[in-house]
């Protein structure tokens, strides 16, 4: 394990440098493979403009820093979405021949259509509580967080790097990586996460940077209900749950 890289990642996200890997770290380790799949001609959509709309990861057991792990990345089926079509990227981490960690990232291709003319798959996830719960913490998200997270994750999507490059893709300004927001939320739960658990989040309204946002974690079902909201307003940036497995 490259401890320098792990330390850089941990610092940017707010994690401690501990004996086990941060729950979102395998996602970063798998990023080159994910990118290779997404840029493969066989991938159903073009990568430009693809939006990361959700990620569900399961930590089956803590991953020790000093043990090697085997990564597998695969593409799931394409399905319909309210605003186009979506595809799932599945990542698995094996240690000692059993699955120790897995993650499913959902990407939306706006305006695309699913094969067979299928319409909306499932329903759009429900909105979070209104009004949002009392914030657990206020985060001041710096303007360079997109560039800093890009360096430690390898995800140099231009929508995160600079207001100008973000505007070229129709965003009002640079936006934070969804996986950074998720990582920062889990870092805020340091010491409060179960031994094995599933974290299911939806990335909703893009978080324009710099920005001041409200984070809330409400204890629920031996886990947490998570939310990240703008400084004012009720449309969440991130909604999710942590549940023991």
């Amino acid at each position: 394990m490259d401890v320098d890289r792990l330390a850089d990642y941990s610092r940017v996200c707010g994690y401690r440098l501990g004996s086990t890997l941060p729950p979102t770290y395998p996602h970063v380790l798998a990023f080159p493979q994910q990118l290779a799949l997404m840029t493969d001609p066989a991938f159903p959509f073009g990568t430009a403009g693809l939006v990361h709309i959700g990620n569900a990861l399961t930590v089956h057991r803590p991953l020790p820093v000093d043990r090697s792990l085997a990564l597998t990345v695969s593409v799931g089926p394409v399905s319909a979405h309210h605003r186009g079509a979506q595809v799932e990227l599945v990542t698995e981490v094996r240690q000692d021949d059993t699955i120790a960690w897995e993650s499913t990232s959902t990407y939306l291709s706006r305006g695309a259509s699913a094969p067979g003319g299928a319409t909306v798959a499932g329903k759009e996830p429900v909105d979070g509580p209104t009004p949002p719960p009392m914030p657990t913490a206020t985060w001041r998200v710096p303007a360079d967080i997109g560039r800093r997270y890009a360096k430690v994750s390898g995800d140099f999507n231009p929508i995160h790097l600079h207001p100008l490059t973000a505007r070229a893709f129709g965003f009002p300004g640079a936006i934070a990586h969804g996986m950074w927001v998720k990582a920062h939320a889990l870092a805020a739960l340091e010491g409060r996460l179960p031994e094995s658990y599933r974290v299911d989040v939806a990335f909703r309204k893009p978080l324009t940077i710099p920005g001041t946002v409200r984070f809330s974690a409400v204890a629920a079902d031996r886990g947490w209900d998570l939310g990240v909201w703008p400084g004012s307003g009720e449309r969440a940036h991130l909604l999710g749950t942590v549940r023991p497995t």
């Binding site: 401690r16 440098l17 501990g18 004996s19």
Partner: protein, 431 residues
């Protein structure tokens, strides 16, 4: 208020292997290491979600933003977030002092359980802005008009931008700890050979203790390290003799410098923690008592004007502790004398054997006498393990408690010297 004083029990400890500075823990902060160490202790003793009475810990090299380092580590650990914590700083005595503080509160029935810990990183050291720049920045902050701000900035000189890195030196003498120790070594005529012998013994003892599994219940691997990085099991008199002296080379008057990088502790990174409790609490939690912390003493010497060596305070603390407990220096099965430098241990032992020192400096009738050297640092000490300042006390307390548990009876003496001319010593007894 309860009127009876009881003994505080030591239930065990946990530490991460100690690393050399800028080694495997170069990127780990004090809070990272302390949290990992507390979590290791929690895992060993089944303390998940437990609200212990308090956690006392500290670091010698500490950034000012880490004023609540211990509480922050507790909040990030698997201990209950309802566990109070505070920071302690007494140079290299920090770790043992935290154990004494927690033990005293348990003895006075103010606590049923507590954790004493310490951490230090010489790699992730706090770097401060120089005093000139700090003054300019403070004035800038006070300035209310653009003119006043400009005036403040005009005082800025390029030389002010030089950062201030913490030094291992005494503010009042300008000498490093090694230079102080070198003077003491000359004063007590501590030979290079004796220092190297003690160093070799430390490495061999620590290696043997690892090989025997002694540390399986005391050390939790961290960032790829499972044994203390400084440990050289194949240390020999020949290899140690080849090292060039690094301290005491400018003492003059024809004396031979004797202190090398081998017989001095290296700058280190690491953390340690000890679990203490009342015997009742231990029984309720089905945790066996390894040893009791019986008594402790601290001393300080005037190393600035008082013609005493910087690291000689334990030589004064121990006789006071012995007298209060009606014990002789020979009444111990184990001696844990922190090896800041091999010469420090040897000078302390020499002082206790010296009738003149014991009479004139300690006010005793005769010398404390020699100790059985086979009982000294039997499982190695700081020369081999390394010395992350505030983490050394916890390493020693947990090691000695376990030695006493394995022996099943007996008594051990801990002696730790510290910067500022201080010394912290304590007595442990088997359960």
């Amino acid at each position: 208020m309860a009127s009876t004083v009881r003994r505080a029990a030591i239930l065990g400890g946990n530490r991460i292997p100690f690393a050399r500075t800028n080694g495997p823990y170069a990127r780990a902060s004090n809070q990272d290491m302390l949290t990992a160490t507390l979590d290791g202790l929690v895992a060993r003793f089944g303390l998940q979600g437990e609200r212990v009475g308090e956690v006392a810990a500290g670091a010698v090299l500490k950034h000012s933003r880490d004023y609540n380092l211990t509480r922050e580590a507790v909040l990030g650990s698997a201990l209950s977030p309802w566990t109070p914590a505070y920071d302690v700083q007494q140079a290299c005595g920090t770790g043992l002092e935290t154990a004494i503080l927690v033990a005293n509160k348990i003895a006075l029935r103010q606590l049923e359980s507590g954790v004493a810990a310490g951490v230090d990183s010489a790699s992730d050291a706090p770097i401060a802005v120089g005093e000139d720049l700090r003054q300019v920045l403070l004035e800038l902050n006070r300035a209310r008009s653009p003119k006043a701000r400009l005036a403040a900035l005009a005082r800025l000189r390029p030389s002010a931008l030089r950062p201030e890195i913490p030094r291992n030196g005494e503010p009042r003498t300008g000498l490093s700890m090694g230079e102080h120790a070198a003077s003491t070594a000359v004063q007590w005529q501590i030979s290079r050979e004796a220092q190297d012998e003690l160093t070799m013994a430390s490495h061999r003892h620590l290696a043997a203790a690892y090989d025997s599994g002694f540390f399986d219940e005391l050390v939790t691997p961290y960032l790829g390290l499972s044994r203390d990085q400084n440990l050289r099991p194949d240390s020999s008199m020949e290899s140690l003799a080849r090292l060039k002296p690094v301290f005491g080379t400018r003492l003059g008057d024809g004396t031979q410098a004797t202190m090398t990088a081998g017989n001095s502790t290296p700058l280190s990174d690491g953390a340690s923690a000890v679990l203490l409790a009342s015997a009742d609490w231990a029984a309720q939690h089905n945790l066996p008592v390894q040893a009791y912390l019986v008594d402790a003493e601290t001393a300080a010497v005037d190393y600035v004007h008082g013609e005493e060596g910087l690291l000689m305070a334990p030589a004064y603390a121990v006789p006071r502790l012995l007298a209060r407990n009606g014990l002789a220096l020979q009444d111990f099965d184990f001696y844990e004398i922190h090896e800041a430098f091999a010469s420090t241990v040897l000078a302390t032992l020499a002082a206790w054997e010296d009738p003149e020192f014991c009479k004139q400096r300690l006010g005793l009738d005769g010398p404390l006498g020699a100790i059985d050297r086979d009982r000294l640092n039997v499982n190695g000490s700081s020369l081999a393990a390394g010395h992350p300042f505030a983490a050394t006390g916890g390493r020693i307390v947990a090691t000695l408690a376990r030695l006493l548990k394995e022996k099943g009876s007996g008594r051990g003496l801990i002696s730790i010297c510290a910067a500022g001319g201080q010394g912290v010593v304590a007595i442990l007894e088997a359960a």
